[in-house]
């Protein structure tokens, strides 16, 4: 098992259903300055005309997660299928993980007195036919949660047919949010920068499999 998520971010309308569903599902603290899940907005003007791109996001559950490496108490750890989680009982709020995370995906939940983050809803998504709260509720079905190890999963089937990219790939953490690039070349160009690396399943599969074999001994069963 190697859990990951594909995001058809072109579908996003920034309605924030995912954010609310996440909070309701996981009891995320209200009023905190950050959330487990968010929609990144990039907007501006080109020759006086407005433009905007949306990048729905959350924890990337990196295979080489720096947040896990820096944690002095093993509160940050890999759970089943490589899902990165925090054990609030072990967290001493040193916030090293928050510094280490390239995606700013962690925040302090005052109600738990611990760092909190996305869990890929592993209490519900790992059941047969299960999925995350954000995917289930999404009006335009941006997300697809699944298992990279399962060649027959809907996730892998999708990744085999599409090109995709990762956010901040240069940090070399092997993130697991796969952003599906539009098939349409014009729209593809509009939402990625010139140095974004475009991947296919064939080039990424060996890399991720190797990394998984290297790190999965740390994953809890």
């Amino acid at each position: 098992m190697n859990y990951a998520m594909a995001l058809d971010y072109q579908n996003c309308i920034n309605c924030k259903a995912c954010e609310v569903a996440c909070k309701e599902e996981n009891g995320v603290q209200l009023g905190a300055d950050k959330q487990r899940i968010w929609v990144g907005v990039v907007e501006g003007t080109i020759f006086g005309k407005p433009f905007a791109n949306l990048y729905p996001s959350q924890c990337n559950h990196c295979i080489d997660a720096p947040c896990v490496s820096v944690c002095p108490t093993n509160a940050s750890h890999f759970a089943e299928g490589g899902i990165v989680k925090v054990d609030p009982h072990k967290c001493i709020l040193c916030k090293g993980c928050m510094e280490a995370c390239p995606y700013d995906a962690r925040f302090v939940d005052d109600t738990m007195v611990a760092v909190d983050k996305c869990t890929f809803c592993d209490h519900r998504s790992l059941e047969a036919g299960g999925t995350t709260a954000c995917q289930a509720t999404c009006p335009t079905k941006v997300r697809l949660f699944g298992d990279l190890d399962d060649e027959n999963s809907d996730l892998v089937k999708l990744l085999k047919t599409k090109r995709f990219f990762f956010q901040k790939e240069y940090t070399n953490t092997l993130p697991k949010l796969f952003y599906i690039l539009p098939d349409d070349e014009a729209y593809a160009k509009q939402s990625v920068s010139h140095d974004t690396i475009i991947h296919t399943w064939d080039d990424i599969k060996p890399l991720y499999e190797e990394a998984k074999n290297r790190r999965s001994k740390e994953w809890k069963k």
């Binding site: 309308i13 920034n14 599902e25 433009f51």
Partner: protein, 807 residues
């Protein structure tokens, strides 16, 4: 404690159990399948229908120990496509809002100062009864002296049955004339129905003013945004604002507010003058096309003419017209919902409908479709006749005032004391006219003139704070509501079941109507006997009891059955008991659902097989067997479009010329009139309003989960103009119109055209009962002027000029 298990699990062959007290856990874990989590067994899953907005999405309420812990999408309903938006998921906080109306209240201070005392239901009903008896006696049983209004919802009809059919008032108001009446009417009179845009198959869509990314409409929102950006649907967004919908457009055309009609007329000019419209379709299906052709060509509605008015370049207009027709019949000029922007709105909607029809995209896959509606049984009401009940007061404020009146026209007559007979009171159900009707000052004046204002609602809204009596309704999660059928390409019937018992002393409106009716029946019968000569005559001929019973004067009669019993009756008479079980288990029903419904993956479901959907439903020329022809997957939508069909209009054709309107002094064909257009003088701005995806009008503004997403509204102003005026982000701006003044923070942005300012509707509650919503941002209706358009008396939402001052 009684533990219930879900019906689904029961049907799976498990054992029904009723466990007492703390033994629940051990009991259930023994019977549970080994991999089933123990806590899940205590969760009851109740199908419900969301009421956070008007879409009626199917949801499942997870109920644990009598507490709703989560709302999830219910995948079975084709219209809601297995989703629940931010508001839908946040519905729990409507249920557990600490500010909810919990008990019946009677006003203890002056109107509007928010002082109320808690009373029993009987005290509240008695208060209403005493006031009504006095008023109706003084008004000699003119039932129409009590007005009533209702917000949209599954139970709206229950309230209306009481007020209209039983109580007998003609003065009904609902959202229509502050919402979509001109669009519904414009499309219906032209093509025979408002229809649904088939966004799953349309190849070219012009979306003008409508904002489906932020004003979510099911299934349009879900269907279209999977197909934009080079994925099958070309999208042209025409809007003064660069919205989240515009973000998905292939072409975004910023337009001056109030000039859409000029844009459509120019598109029509291009289509007709270059003969690129579907000529076969028009020849077979239009009536009076020659008149329209002449009118458009001789009217001089050229793209160059429109460029000066709209600000959209002539070549853009030409291109859109050509592209639209090239993709027709799978091309749609999208109808839009919350409409009536300016006084030419009815004509605008007519012109839009005609333009879509010129391409042949009506009643065809990928165009505007009508779909099919599954029938439900009848629930007959014996409505009494009151000889002294007068017709509605506002019937002359516009050319055609329908049964839902003209909110602004009606309100102004009462506020200004210009009614033909006194309006002494008002019953308000689930509506908040203080925030939803333009010119709040006049709405307040109207309520202040009344002797009895009764508000039935879940929240202490600004309107509730003007009531004499407040009756607390339970929320949608605490009641069963009337079963409803939804027309569409994939029609279905849905049922809102009760997730938990009503909290506090709240009640569903069916119970409130029954109890109030029981209280009122006898005393009001005495008033009728005293003043109603027809009834007096009838009693002389017959005995009193017979007149009372046969005449339907027992006001409580339609509400005596529980909602569940009524639903059972209405549904089972058409579909039988087996289907009823399916409906109650799944919350959704349509014929063959269990065999048609397929899960393809976690994101995709199929509701009807492709050849069983209702894209084309109108009667075709006799040479075609409609049933076989329309469901043949090999037939090109273009071929279907060209057939002669029978539209639901007076001439059975697409109507270009409305002769019936001439006598009413309404243009029979869409025409641009300079004098109707509100020009923006130097130094002023035109105010536009709108929606976004996190709040529904003013009804969800106290929801803490949604306030997390957006705490207040901001004034959008073009960034270049803001710079000239020295306005920066977050500055407090005083916005002044002829009718009001508000203060709101500024948001300078390139996403709005010059000479235009915008803020989102619904904010700016002043009720101190709304702890979290109190004075967040500003209310648009405090500054929107109360002018109405001439055809249906709808409020002109975008004709207000304002000045700005940095504070």
């Amino acid at each position: 404690m009684k533990v219930e298990i879900s019906r689904r699990r029961f049907l799976q062959g498990s054992v029904a159990l009723s466990v007492v007290g703390g033994t629940a856990l051990s009991g259930t874990s023994i019977m549970a399948k080994s991999e089933e989590k123990t806590e899940n067994l205590l969760v009851k899953k109740v199908p419900t229908i969301c009421e956070m907005c008007v879409n009626k999405c199917a949801a499942v309420a997870y109920v644990k120990n009598g507490i709703v812990t989560k709302l999830e999408p219910n995948p079975y309903f084709p219209k809601s496509r297995n989703m629940l938006c931010a508001r839908g998921v946040a519905g729990i906080h409507a249920l557990y809002d600490p500010d909810r109306l919990k008990y019946p209240l009677i006003r203890a201070g002056e109107r509007g100062d928010g002082k109320y005392r808690r009373v029993t239901w009987d005290e509240a009903y008695t208060y209403i009864q005493e006031k009504l008896v006095k008023i109706l006696d003084e008004e000699e049983d003119n039932r129409s002296c009590i007005g009533y209004c209702a917000g949209e919802g599954l139970a709206e009809h229950t309230f209306k049955t009481f007020m209209a059919d039983k109580f007998g008032s003609s003065n009904f108001l609902n959202h229509s004339t502050i919402c979509l009446q001109t669009a519904v009417s414009g499309y219906t009179l032209t093509i025979g129905g408002y229809g649904l845009a088939d966004m799953e198959n349309a190849k070219y869509v012009i979306m003008a003013g409508a904002n489906r990314a932020e004003a979510i409409l099911t299934p349009d929102t879900m269907d279209m945004f999977k197909r934009t950006r080079g994925r099958g649907m070309k999208l042209v967004v025409v809007d003064p604002r660069y919205t989240n919908t515009a973000m998905h457009a292939d072409t975004y055309l910023p337009i001056r507010p109030g000039t859409d009609l000029a844009f459509v007329l120019a598109l029509t000019y291009v289509a007709i003058s270059t003969k690129i419209y579907n000529r076969t379709y028009v020849a077979k299906n239009f009536v009076d096309f020659d008149k329209y052709e002449k009118h458009i060509l001789e009217g001089g509605y050229t793209p160059e003419w429109a460029e000066k008015i709209t600000g959209i370049k002539a070549e853009e207009i030409r291109k859109v017209a050509h592209d639209f027709m090239a993709h027709a019949p799978q091309s749609v000029y999208y109808q839009g919902r919350r409409t009536t922007w300016s006084s030419n709105d009815f004509q605008l909607r007519r012109a839009m409908a005609l333009f879509t029809a010129l391409g042949g995209g009506i009643d065809v896959k990928g165009g505007i479709v009508f779909g099919k509606k599954l029938p439900l049984g009848d629930h007959a009401v014996n409505a009494p006749m009151y000889a002294n009940a007068q017709p509605r007061i506002d019937k002359n404020v516009a050319a055609v005032v329908g049964a839902t009146g003209s909110w602004v026209g009606w309100r102004n007559m009462v506020a200004e004391g210009k009614t033909p007979y006194p309006i002494r009171g008002m019953f308000v159900y689930k509506q908040n006219p203080m925030l939803s009707v333009p010119n709040s000052t006049k709405t307040r004046q109207m309520f202040e003139k009344m002797d009895l204002v009764v508000v039935i609602d879940t929240m202490p809204s600004d309107t509730a704070m003007l009531a004499d009596v407040i009756l607390p309704e339970c929320t949608y999660l605490e009641r069963e509501d009337p079963v409803q059928s939804f027309a569409g390409v994939e029609p279905a019937i849905i049922l809102r079941e009760k997730a938990i018992e009503p909290m506090y002393e709240t009640k569903p409106v069916n119970d409130i109507m029954r109890e109030l009716a029981q209280k009122l029946t006898k005393p009001l019968w005495e008033i009728t006997k005293k003043h109603d000569e027809d009834v007096q005559e009838a009693i002389e001929e017959d005995d009193e009891q017979t007149v009372f019973e046969d005449g339907g004067f027992d006001l409580a009669e339609p509400f005596m059955h529980s909602q569940e019993e009524t639903n059972h009756h209405m549904f089972v008479s058409k579909y039988g008991e087996e289907a009823w079980k399916i409906l109650r288990e799944k919350g959704v029903f349509y014929p063959n659902m269990l065999s048609y419904f397929k899960k393809i993956d976690n994101n995709t479901y199929e509701y009807y097989p492709k050849d069983k959907r209702f894209y084309s439903v109108l009667k075709l020329e006799e040479e075609y067997d409609s049933e076989a022809f329309l469901h043949d997957l090999c037939v090109n939508p273009g071929d279907i479009a060209e057939l002669k069909r029978s539209f639901n209009t007076p001439n059975k054709k697409v109507e270009c010329y409305l002769a019936s309107m001439v006598a009413r002094k309404v243009d029979p064909m869409p025409a641009w009139r300079d004098e109707d257009y509100v020009k923006v003088p130097e130094g002023k701005f035109k105010f536009v309003t709108g929606r976004h995806a996190q709040f529904t009008q003013s009804s969800t503004v106290n929801n803490i989960m949604l306030l997390e997403l957006m705490h207040e509204n901001y004034l959008w102003i073009n960034d270049k103009e803001a710079e000239k005026l020295g306005i920066e982000f977050g500055d407090t701006i005083e916005v002044t119109s002829r009718v009001g003044q508000v203060r709101i923070k500024a948001y300078p942005t390139p996403k709005i055209v010059p000479q235009t300012v915008f803020y989102i509707h619904g904010f700016g509650s002043k009720s101190e009962g709304m702890t979290f919503a109190h004075r967040n941002g500003a209310s648009d209706n405090e500054i929107i002027e109360d002018t109405i358009e001439p055809v249906h008396g709808c409020a002109n939402m975008h004709d207000t000029l304002v000045t700005l001052r940095r504070v």
